[in-house]
């Protein structure tokens, strides 16, 4: 296989096809529409299921139906569409069927805009629907990583019978970079629990209803036990230049790419700074951050996100009160420049020497 120049949305779609995605249901929304468009031709060519639904509400319930019927199935959307899908997402969590959802995040709240954002962090990791559950949330920072994540996402969904989100942002969805696609996988057989007709067996039922309090509590205990196993087994992160780092930038996705450039620039100046990049946003790499904070060398953290500080709270919980955890964020579709993050790192190292500066042409940043 060789590298090709691929657009993020198209690469994610093709990676899903090659991971054996048997059915796709979705609704157009910028900046993820190319994903749906790619599916509309590829899935039909391959004799698989593609359907453009009348709404995101319908799309997620079609996904729920296809998952209940045992197909490897996915949908994709962007922030306002994910909000509409939350009802179905909760039902999917409550009936433990495997589903993959791609969220190409855009600026909010409300209609917001179609620019890149990380404003759905809380929504996908903590409040993806009513009730007690977390989806697995994977956040790529390059197109190659997004490609590799699609197969992983489907495998994790099947392994744990759970929801898996792959969260990109508008820039990852829209940009092009060289990447390599995996070979085509066979479609997997339908699981024994799926709805295929009750020939030669008892009825299969896919449902999220447990009317008695004790029954529903028992189900929730079982669900929480499963989530605890996922928390133990499925933490993923990248540690970059952390071996001797005294200052740590924590960032995910596109913000982490920018932060990596800033770290590289400061490293060339001899400044001992590194990058900690959560790849699984849930389960969050909490223990790894706690270990960094407790290693006796690290003196402070800078969290940078394309939102008002959502992952920030998870980092502060992990680090505790012993060390400073500063925040620098851009909102509304703005992407930070490496120089902005360099300035913030220098502020963290020596607050007195560096005045807080507003990046030129921007009044949209937020410090915490």
């Amino acid at each position: 296989m060789t590298k090709e120049l691929l657009k993020g949305n198209v690469a994610i779609a093709e990676a899903a096809v090659r991971a054996g995605c048997e059915a796709y249901f979705g609704y157009p929304i910028t900046p993820q529409t190319e994903l749906l468009e790619h599916m509309s031709s590829r899935m039909i060519e391959l004799g698989r299921t593609f359907l453009q639904a009348e709404s995101e509400v319908a799309a997620i319930n079609m996904v729920y139906g296809a998952a209940a019927a045992g197909a490897r199935v996915m949908t994709s959307s962007s922030s306002p569409g994910i909000s509409l899908m939350q009802e179905g997402i909760s039902y999917i969590a409550g009936s433990e069927v495997p589903v993959v959802i791609v969220d190409v995040i855009r600026g909010g709240p409300g209609l917001g805009n179609i620019q890149p954002s990380q404003g759905d962090y809380n929504q996908v990791t903590k409040s993806a629907g009513h009730g007690d559950f977390h989806p697995i949330v994977l956040a790529p920072s390059t197109i190659q990583e997004a490609i590799d994540m699609m197969g992983l996402a489907f495998d994790l969904a099947d392994k744990y019978r759970t929801l898996v989100f792959v969260v990109a942002d508008g820039s990852l969805g829209q940009m092009m970079e060289p990447a390599e696609l995996p070979p085509m996988q066979e479609l997997r057989p339908r699981p024994t629990w799926s709805l295929t007709g009750k020939k030669d067996r008892e009825q299969n039922l896919i449902s999220s209803i447990y009317l008695g309090a004790s029954l529903l509590e028992e189900f929730n205990r079982k669900l929480q036990a499963k989530l605890a196993i996922i928390e133990k087994n499925e933490v993923r992160y990248e540690a970059y230049e952390l071996e001797d780092a005294e200052y740590v930038v924590v960032a995910f996705g596109t913000a982490a790419r920018v932060a990596k450039t800033a770290v590289q620039t400061l490293r060339r100046q001899g400044i001992p700074v590194g990058l900690f990049r959560p790849i699984s946003l849930w389960p969050f790499p909490e223990q790894q951050l706690t270990d960094l904070a407790d290693n006796g060398r690290v003196k402070g953290f800078l969290v940078t996100e394309m939102n008002a500080g959502q992952m920030l709270h998870d980092v502060r919980l992990a680090v505790g009160r012993g060390l400073p955890v500063k925040f620098y964020g851009r909102m509304g579709g703005a992407i930070p420049m490496p120089e902005e993050i360099e300035t913030q790192i220098l502020n963290l190292i020596n607050p007195a020497a560096q005045p807080e500066t507003t990046p030129e042409g921007s009044n949209g940043y937020i410090n915490r």
Partner: protein
């Protein structure tokens, strides 16, 4: 010595169909859900569909219908049964996929999903019970509530100036090209129950032939929330619902034409 049994041959004329689970239901006395369940189960068993059928249950009084039909089943979110059934059918095109929905579920919160399933000509069957009220939540106004009808959320009677007129689902769905079969039947007496069963059978046959969306609207009673005896409720269906919701065939695919006209 003569034996009494020697001259008697047993002829079984009535039994529980295999597709109907051997359970007591949670339905109120006099409710026509039980009759509708029986009819659907008889049709599934008689057409040999039980092992290929997938039910998508809805939210409302029939929320537990998956317990009573002995077929593979999913429980959809409120109103989303036709979308969920679409997902099941698209990846299982050789299965018989049907929804069982009430008027709040189908005609109110699920109208978009229902309409678009019909517009796509989704090859599924919808059993739609219209009893002009929200039963499970205790008798609120539905889009199908009759003008002037008293409910717990239209305590002065449904005022059409404020809340519009009853929605005619069989007619609306019958007007859609993707619909192969759309009829309205009633369950207020034995003759109409027999006609209802024939319509349910035709609807499943439409799916078996791959003709597109099929729906049977069944006028049903709700003695509890209408605050009537079962007999009074059946009379109310006949005297008040049938005039508002005319029985009949609103779409019959040409390949089903021999089945036409049994509803009046």
């Amino acid at each position: 010595m003569a034996t009494l049994t020697a001259d008697i041959t047993e002829k079984l004329v009535y039994q529980r169909p295999d597709a109907l689970a051997d359970l007591y239901t949670h339905y109120c006395p006099g409710c026509t859900h039980g009759t509708a369940h029986r009819l659907v189960a008889e049709v599934l068993s008689e057409l040999g569909m039980q092992e290929d059928a997938v039910l998508v249950a809805s939210v409302g009084c029939s929320v537990f219908s998956y317990k009573y039909f002995d077929v593979d089943a999913a429980e959809a979110a409120h109103g989303r049964a036709c979308a969920m059934a679409t997902g099941v059918k698209r990846v299982n095109p050789d299965k018989i996929v049907f929804t069982y929905q009430g008027d709040g579920d189908l005609a109110s919160i699920g109208l978009a999903e229902t309409m678009h399933a019909a517009i796509r000509g989704e090859n599924i069957t919808v059993i739609f019970l219209n009893n002009a009220i929200y039963g499970m939540t205790g008798g609120q106004m539905a889009p199908t509530t009759l003008p002037g009808q008293h409910t717990t959320s239209s305590p002065f009677g449904r005022d059409i100036k404020l809340t519009g007129n009853p929605i005619h689902i069989a007619e609306i769905l019958g007007s859609i090209p993707g619909t192969a079969y759309s009829v309205r039947r009633s369950m207020h007496d034995a003759r109409h129950v027999i006609q209802a069963k024939k319509a349910i059978q035709t609807a499943f046959e439409a799916q078996q032939k791959g003709l597109g969306f099929s729906v049977v609207e069944l006028l049903s009673s709700c003695p509890t929330n209408w605050k009537m005896t079962p007999n009074e409720a059946l009379s109310w269906v006949r005297d008040n619902m049938v005039p508002t919701y005319p029985l009949g065939d609103y779409k019959v695919h040409e390949e089903l034409q021999s089945k036409r006209g049994r509803g009046r």
